[in-house]
């Protein structure tokens, strides 16, 4: 007994140090695994509030360029509307226009309050959470293209796993074809991501557009990603449409049919 007390007395600092290190290491490893609740993340009320305050100041500095991008988006949407109006005119008797009851996707607007792009595993924080209907595994996009997937939500904030994260895997395809592959990032350049597993018979040219494939329940089909920059045998380098270091306004996409699709797929497996 005395020996034990002597031992504790002698190594008390070292034991305390080891204990703290184990906690830290546990948090680090926990941060790298999927689908766990995370205590240390920027999507909680303390850090979320600080980042909101900081963002409200710094967003003033970008107002001009943000305005420009909003005008750009408006223009794009107006063009689409006029195109659709024309279509409705033409084929009114044949097509049934989806009513609200059949709507599959809902877009929730929001803002990035913390952006990150210099690490191998990047996470963003947005100011939308469970209160606004945003939960985990939802697509985050802006008018130029995809940004990431939410992975953890609190009441008012959500953490987003950026596409610039080595753990991210996104289903993507060549526009106007049915060939699809998976998109990931090698951690080197923040403007290029890598597309792999495209079938060999697909002809890929530099400058081809890559869009989301719609094979997952997260992203709707046809959201722009980027253009092919370099085409080597194993990997296709894709240049992103988004400048990942200059993001501000985003949309989160809620898929109403997600549960139904998942249930169906699970039922099929059994």
């Amino acid at each position: 007994m005395q020996q034990l007390i002597f031992f504790l007395q002698r190594y008390k600092y070292f034991l305390c140090f080891i204990l703290l290190q184990i906690i830290a290491l546990f948090l680090t490893i926990n941060n790298h695994s999927f689908h766990r609740s995370k205590f240390i993340s920027s999507a909680n009320s303390i850090s979320g509030n600080f980042y909101t305050k900081k963002n409200s100041i710094s967003s003033y500095l970008d107002l001009r360029s943000e305005n420009n991008s909003l005008i750009e988006e408006n223009q794009l949407l107006k063009n689409k509307i006029s195109l659709l109006e024309q279509q409705i005119d033409q084929v009114d008797s044949q097509t049934k226009i989806d009513s609200i009851a059949n709507q599959q996707y809902k877009y929730v607007d929001g803002k990035i309050i913390k952006n990150e792009f210099h690490k191998p595993y990047n996470f963003l924080t947005i100011n939308r959470g469970k209160k606004h209907g945003v939960t985990s595994e939802m697509a985050v996009v802006n008018h130029k293209g995809i940004i990431g997937v939410t992975d953890f939500s609190s009441e008012n904030y959500s953490r987003v796993r950026s596409i610039l994260n080595r753990d991210s895997k996104i289903n993507a395809k060549l526009k106007n074809t049915t060939y699809f592959g998976s998109l990931s990032w090698d951690g080197k350049d923040l403007n290029t991501v890598q597309l792999a597993d495209i079938p060999r018979q697909a002809t890929i040219n530099v400058g081809d557009t890559i869009v989301t494939g719609g094979n997952s329940t997260i992203f709707p089909k046809g959201i722009p990603i980027g253009i092919v920059e370099k085409n080597s045998k194993a990997m296709i380098q894709v240049k992103l449409f988004n400048e990942m270091n200059r993001l501000e306004n985003i949309y989160t996409i809620i898929n109403f049919d997600k549960q139904e699709i998942k249930d169906l797929e699970n039922a099929n497996n059994e």
Binding site: Y13, F14, C16, F17, L20, Q21, I23, A24, L25, F26, L27, T28, I29, N30, N31, H32, I40, S41, S42, N44, I46, S47, F50, Y51, K54, K114, E116, H118, K119, P120, Y121, F123, T125, R159, G187, L190
Partner: protein, 170 residues
């Protein structure tokens, strides 16, 4: 709460906010990120009882982690340098625990202080970048990041220290 504790608490909060709101956004050449908050560990009073420094370092790292979504990376690194601080103190300043009471950093020669701070900063940065990378790929990247960030942190620290000291004399 006496004045010294209050000052420490203030610098704890101040350094954390400085790090997460300003310094984490400074990215020179795309990847050089200075970590200045660790000077809290150098200015923490030198005492025989080492529990306060261990726990303060732990929570300092935890707060920085909370803001930068890095799990426990900074916690691990700060606790490590807090633990090895007395051994480096003994080696670089050639002093024992008896001298803790009368020790102030400003009375030591610049060379000794520089060696002490530079070596601890280097260790901290190396651990941080190794854990951020989280794999043995890109090891060269880790080394380059560590060295460049370390140089930048040290420049910031000593320039800041110089300006601060001048102000106090006036």
């Amino acid at each position: 709460m006496n004045k010294r504790t209050f000052n420490l608490l203030l610098s704890f909060i101040g350094l954390t906010l400085l790090q997460v709101l300003i310094l984490n956004n400074i990215l020179i050449f795309g990847y050089v990120n200075p970590y200045l908050y660790i000077i809290f560990i150098f200015i923490f009073p030198y005492k025989v009882n080492r529990f306060p420094i261990l726990f303060s370092a732990f929570f300092l790292g935890l707060f920085v982690d909370l803001f930068s979504d890095s799990g426990g990376i900074h916690t691990f690194a700060t606790t490590t340098i807090a633990y090895i601080r007395p051994y480096f103190f003994k080696t670089f300043f050639q002093k024992t625990e008896v001298d803790y009471e009368f020790f102030t950093m400003s009375q030591e020669s610049f060379g000794k202080v520089f060696n002490f701070i530079a070596s601890l900063t280097l260790i901290h940065h190396f651990i941080v970048f190794l854990l951020i990378n989280f794999s043995f790929n890109n090891f060269l990247n880790v080394i380059v990041n560590t060295l460049l960030s370390c140089i930048f942190s040290l420049i910031l620290y000593f320039v800041g220290n110089f300006i601060f000291r001048r102000k106090q004399q006036l």
